[in-house]
C-alpha cells in the first residue's frame, strides 16, 4: 500500500538510519570468523542484561524459542500445566504444547494482562509455571501475581515479547520472574532484521542450562551433556540489536509521546489503553476499543490510515486449540476485546502530522455515528 498516508509500520526508514553501522558490523563478523555465538552476541547479551537489570541475558533464535527453552530448562513436560493468556500471539500457547505440557488459559483484565483473581482459581497441583504476557508493552499486575504464587513453587515466566523497557514500580519487566522472554522480531520495539530473541534471568542455574540447551546441549565441542536444540541468535542480528538498543530509550520516549497525544484526544470517543498503577508501558501497540471497530477500521483504511487487529481470533477459539475444550464464552472479557479492539499506527518515525491525521480521521468517523 504505497498510497497510505499513515502506514502501520515503517521499517525501511529505521534501517536507513542504521545501514552504515550494520554494514560495518557485517564486515567485522566476516573478518573475525566468529559466525555463531561470537563476540557480537556476547556484547549484546551484556548490554541487554544491564538494560533490563538482570544478572544474565541469553540470545536465542527467536522469542518463541526463548519461551520453549525456559520451560525445558525448568523441566516442564507431559502432565504439567502452564497458565497463559488467550489474547496473546499464538506462540504463547504452542511453546507450552511443544514441551508436552498443557496450556491453561486465564481471563484478562482492562490492562489486557492476566486477571490475578481468575488466575487464583486455575492453580492445580499440576501447575508448574505461570506465563503472564505484558501485551502491547503494558505491564501486567505483576505484584499481585507474585504475591499469589509466593511459596507455591510455581515459577513466573514473563512473556515480555512486546515490552522491552516497560517498568513496574521503577523496575524493568523481564526481571520479576525466574526468567523472561523477549522477541527481537523486526516488528518489535527492539527489532532486528530477521528472527531473534533473548532470555533474561537472575538465576545461575537457569543461565547455565540455557547456554547448553541453545547449542546442542554441548559443554564443549566434543561433549554433549543433554540432547539440546539449535536456537542461537545470529551474530549479525546481535550486532543490529546492539545498535538499536542504544537508541531504544529515545524511540520509546517518542512512542510514549504519541500515545499520550492519542489518549488525550480520543478518550471519550473510544476506550483508550488502561495501565495498572505504578506501571510505565512502552506501547508496542496502541490498542483502542470501540463497538464500531469494523466500521472504524474500514473508514480509516479508505482514508489512508492503516490499522491492524491484535488479534481477531483469541487462541482458545483457534482450530489448533479445539482439543483443549474451550468454547465461545469461556473468556468474555478477552472475547469482547478481540471483537472491539483495533491497533493504531505507533512507531518513532511517525510524524506529528501523521498523528494529527489519525486523530482527525477518527474524530471525523465518530461524527458519522449516532
Amino acid at each position: 500500500m504505497t498510497n497510505l498516508k499513515v502506514p502501520f509500520v515503517n521499517l525501511a526508514s529505521a534501517y536507513k538510519n542504521d545501514a552504515h553501522a550494520i554494514s560495518i558490523a557485517i564486515e567485522e563478523i566476516g573478518n573475525s570468523g566468529q559466525y555463531i555465538l561470537g563476540s557480537k552476541v556476547k556484547t549484546f547479551e551484556e548490554e541487554f542484561a544491564t538494560y533490563i537489570g538482570t544478572k544474565y541475558a541469553v540470545g536465542v533464535a527467536n522469542g518463541s524459542d526463548a519461551l520453549f527453552l525456559i520451560m525445558k530448562a525448568l523441566g516442564i513436560g507431559p502432565g504439567d500445566e502452564v497458565i497463559t493468556q488467550p489474547n496473546s500471539f499464538i506462540a504463547s500457547a504452542w511453546t507450552i504444547v511443544a514441551t508436552g505440557a498443557t496450556p491453561i488459559f486465564c481471563e484478562v483484565d482492562e490492562t489486557l494482562g492476566m486477571d490475578p483473581e481468575h488466575l487464583s482459581k486455575l492453580i492445580t497441583p499440576r501447575t508448574k509455571a505461570v506465563m503472564p504476557v505484558h501485551l502491547t508493552g503494558n505491564p501486567v499486575k505483576i505484584d499481585v501475581i507474585q504475591e499469589l504464587l509466593a511459596g507455591t513453587g510455581i515459577e513466573i515466566i514473563e512473556d515480555a515479547a512486546q515490552s522491552v523497557g516497560a517498568k513496574f514500580n521503577g523496575q524493568r519487566v523481564g526481571s520479576f520472574g525466574i526468567a523472561a522472554m523477549f522477541s527481537l522480531h523486526p516488528l518489535k520495539n527492539l527489532g532486528v532484521i530477521g528472527d531473534g530473541g533473548v532470555v533474561t534471568t537472575n538465576s545461575d542455574k537457569m543461565y547455565n542450562k540455557l547456554l547448553r540447551l541453545r547449542n546442542h546441549g554441548l559443554i564443549d565441542r566434543d561433549h554433549c551433556e543433554i540432547w539440546g536444540y539449535n536456537s542461537r541468535l545470529d551474530e549479525l542480528q546481535a550486532a543490529v540489536a546492539s545498535i538499536r538498543l542504544s537508541k531504544l530509550d529515545t524511540n520509546t520516549a517518542r512512542v510514549r509521546k504519541i500515545a499520550k497525544k492519542y489518549s488525550t484526544e480520543l478518550e471519550g470517543l473510544v476506550i483508550t489503553p488502561k495501565s495498572y498503577g505504578g506501571s510505565d508501558p512502552v506501547f508496542h501497540n496502541y490498542i483502542i476499543h470501540t463497538e464500531y471497530r469494523d466500521a472504524l477500521q474500514s473508514y480509516l483504511h479508505a482514508v489512508g490510515v492503516d490499522t491492524k487487529i491484535h488479534y481477531p481470533v483469541p487462541i482458545h477459539l483457534q482450530e489448533c486449540a479445539k482439543h483443549l475444550g474451550y468454547k465461545v464464552g469461556s473468556f468474555p472479557i478477552c472475547e469482547y476485546q478481540s471483537t472491539n479492539s483495533v491497533s493504531l499506527p505507533i512507531y518513532p518515525e511517525l510524524s506529528d502530522k501523521q498523528v494529527e491525521t489519525v486523530i482527525a480521521e477518527i474524530k471525523n468517523f465518530f461524527k458519522t455515528v449516532p
Binding site: V9, L11, A12, Y15, A19, I26, E27, I29, G30, S32, G33, Q34, Y35, I36, L37, G38, S39, V41, K42, A61, N62, S64, P78, I90, A91, W94, A98, H185, P186, I193, G194, D195, N208, L211, H216, G217, I219, D220, R221, D222, H223, C224, E225, I226, W227, G228, Y229, N230, R232, D234, E235, L236, Q237, Y311, V313, I315, Q318, E319, C320, A321
Partner: protein, 384 residues
C-alpha cells in the same frame, strides 16, 4: 563467567596458517550481498520473503526435488521432518552413532527415542545393522551422508519399502552429492540440509532447508515452521517458529550461483590429498567408489597415532580437526539409553582414529602440498 566455549575456539582457530574457517576470504566481496540486503530490508521483507521463495525454488531444482522449504537450521530441518510424521513420545528412530549431536537432538526434541546403529568402512550407517534394529516402534530412519559421502541408498530404500518406514536423509553435509547419478535429499520422504556458516553452501548465521517430493509433507512443514498459521489470524495446528531469515536467503542465493565451483574445488582438493597421502604408512584413506559422488564437506581419513598426528599438524599451523572424538552412544547425554563402550566397534574406531584436514575452496595448492608433506614427515622415521 561465560561458558560459551565457542569464543575461545574462534580465537584459537585464527592462529592457523591453513585454516578450517574461510569466512574472511569468502565474504571479501560482501558489498554485492549488502546491496541486496538493503533492498530486502527497505521492502520490510524480513521473514519468509521473496528471497526465501526464490531460494526454495532454485534449491529444489538444484537437488532435483519437487519442493524445498527454508527453515531455521539443519537441526530444525530434521526436527520438523519428524514432527510432520507425527512422531509420538517413545517412537523409535534409527540413526548412526557417528554423527553430529544435532541429528540426535532433533530426534529427541521431536519426542523420539534414538536407536543407534554402527557404521561401515565408509563411516556411514550400516544397512545390515539397520535391519536388525527394526521393531514395531520404529517410525523413521535417519541416515547421515557423513562428510558428504552418500549412504547406500538403494538398499536403504529397499528396507524403507519392505518395512514401510520413512527415511529422513540428514544431508547437512551432502549438498550436490550423488548416488548412482541421483542427488542426496531426493531419496527419502525428506532431505535435510544445513546452511551453517561452515557448510558447503553457507550463510551468515543459522539456516537450513528441507527437500521433499511429497505434497503432504511440504504443506505440513510449511505450517509447522510458521506457528501453524494458515494466515495471520488463523492457527490450524500448534506449530513452531523456524524460519530462514530473508536476509540469509539473500546470502544463500548469492552463493548458490557458486555452489558448483565450490563443490568442484573441494573434490579437486580431496583428490589431490588422496593421491598425496595414499602411500603414506599409518594412513588409511576411505575406499573411493565411482558410483557415488562425494562432496567432501569434511575430508577425513584413519590415522595411526591420531592424537599425536593432530597435535603435530596443529603445531605446524594446520587446523586439523576431529569430527568427532566421542560417538553419540557414549556421550553423557545418552546415558539414559544404556549403551556402553564396545556396542558399536566401527563407530568407536572411527571416532578414535579419524582426523580431518581443510579442503574448502580457499585452500591453495601450496597448502595441500604443505599438509601432505607434514603428514609424511610425521610418519617418517627421521621425524625431529
Amino acid at each position: 563467567m561465560s561458558k560459551n566455549f565457542l569464543l575461545s575456539q574462534y580465537e584459537n582457530d585464527k592462529k592457523f596458517s591453513v585454516q578450517h574457517n574461510y569466512l574472511e576470504q569468502q565474504f571479501s566481496d560482501k558489498d554485492i550481498i549488502l546491496e541486496k540486503i538493503k533492498e530486502v530490508v527497505t521492502r520490510g521483507d524480513f521473514t519468509l520473503g521473496r528471497e526465501v521463495d526464490k531460494l526454495e525454488e532454485a534449491f529444489a531444482q538444484l537437488v532435483g526435488a519437487k519442493h524445498a522449504i527454508g527453515v531455521g537450521s539443519g537441526t530444525d530441518a530434521i526436527f520438523l521432518s519428524l514432527r510432520a510424521l507425527d512422531l509420538q513420545l517413545g517412537d523409535e528412530v534409527i540413526t548412526t552413532s557417528f554423527t553430529f549431536y544435532a541429528t540426535i537432538g532433533a530426534i529427541v526434541t521431536a519426542g523420539g527415542t534414538p536407536v543407534f546403529c554402527d557404521v561401515e568402512e565408509d563411516f556411514n550407517i550400516s544397512i545390515a545393522g539397520i535391519k536388525k534394529l527394526i521393531t514395531d516402534k520404529t517410525k523413521a530412519i535417519v541416515p547421515v551422508h557423513w562428510t558428504g559421502r552418500p549412504c547406500e541408498m538403494n538398499e536403504m530404500m529397499e528396507i524403507s519399502e519392505e518395512f514401510g518406514i520413512p527415511i529422513i536423509e540428514d544431508a547437512c553435509h551432502s549438498i550436490l552429492a550423488e548416488y548412482h547419478g541421483r542427488r542426496t535429499g531426493t531419496f527419502g520422504i525428506t532431505g535435510c540440509f544445513s546452511f551453517h556458516p561452515l557448510k558447503n553452501l553457507n550463510i551468515w548465521g543459522d539456516g537450513g532447508i528441507i527437500t521433499t517430493n511429497s505434497d503432504e509433507m511440504n504443506a505440513k512443514i510449511r505450517l509447522l515452521r510458521n506457528h501453524g498459521l494458515t494466515d495471520r489470524d488463523h492457527c490450524e495446528i500448534f506449530g513452531y517458529n523456524s524460519r530462514l531469515d530473508t536476509i540469509q536467503a539473500v546470502v544463500a542465493n548469492h552463493l548458490l550461483g557458486k555452489i558448483h565451483s565450490i563443490t568442484d574445488a573441494r573434490i579437486d582438493h580431496a583428490n589431490y590429498l588422496d593421491r598425496g597421502l595414499s602411500e603414506v604408512p599409518g594412513i588409511r584413506i576411505p575406499h573411493r567408489v565411482d558410483t557415488i559422488k562425494e562432496v567432501f564437506h569434511i575430508y577425513s581419513f584413519m590415522a595411526e597415532n591420531r592424537d599425536a598426528l593432530g597435535l603435530f599438524l596443529r603445531e605446524n599451523g594446520i587446523d586439523a580437526k576431529i569430527h568427532y572424538p566421542i560417538p553419540m552412544h557414549l556421550q553423557p547425554a545418552a546415558q539414559y539409553l544404556n549403551y556402553k563402550k564396545g556396542d558399536f566397534p566401527m563407530a568407536e574406531n572411527a571416532a578414535n582414529r579419524t582426523i580431518s584436514l581443510p579442503v574448502h575452496e580457499f585452500v591453495e595448492l601450496k597448502d595441500l602440498d604443505f599438509m601432505i608433506s607434514k603428514v609424511k614427515e610425521f610418519y617418517s622415521d627421521d621425524k625431529p
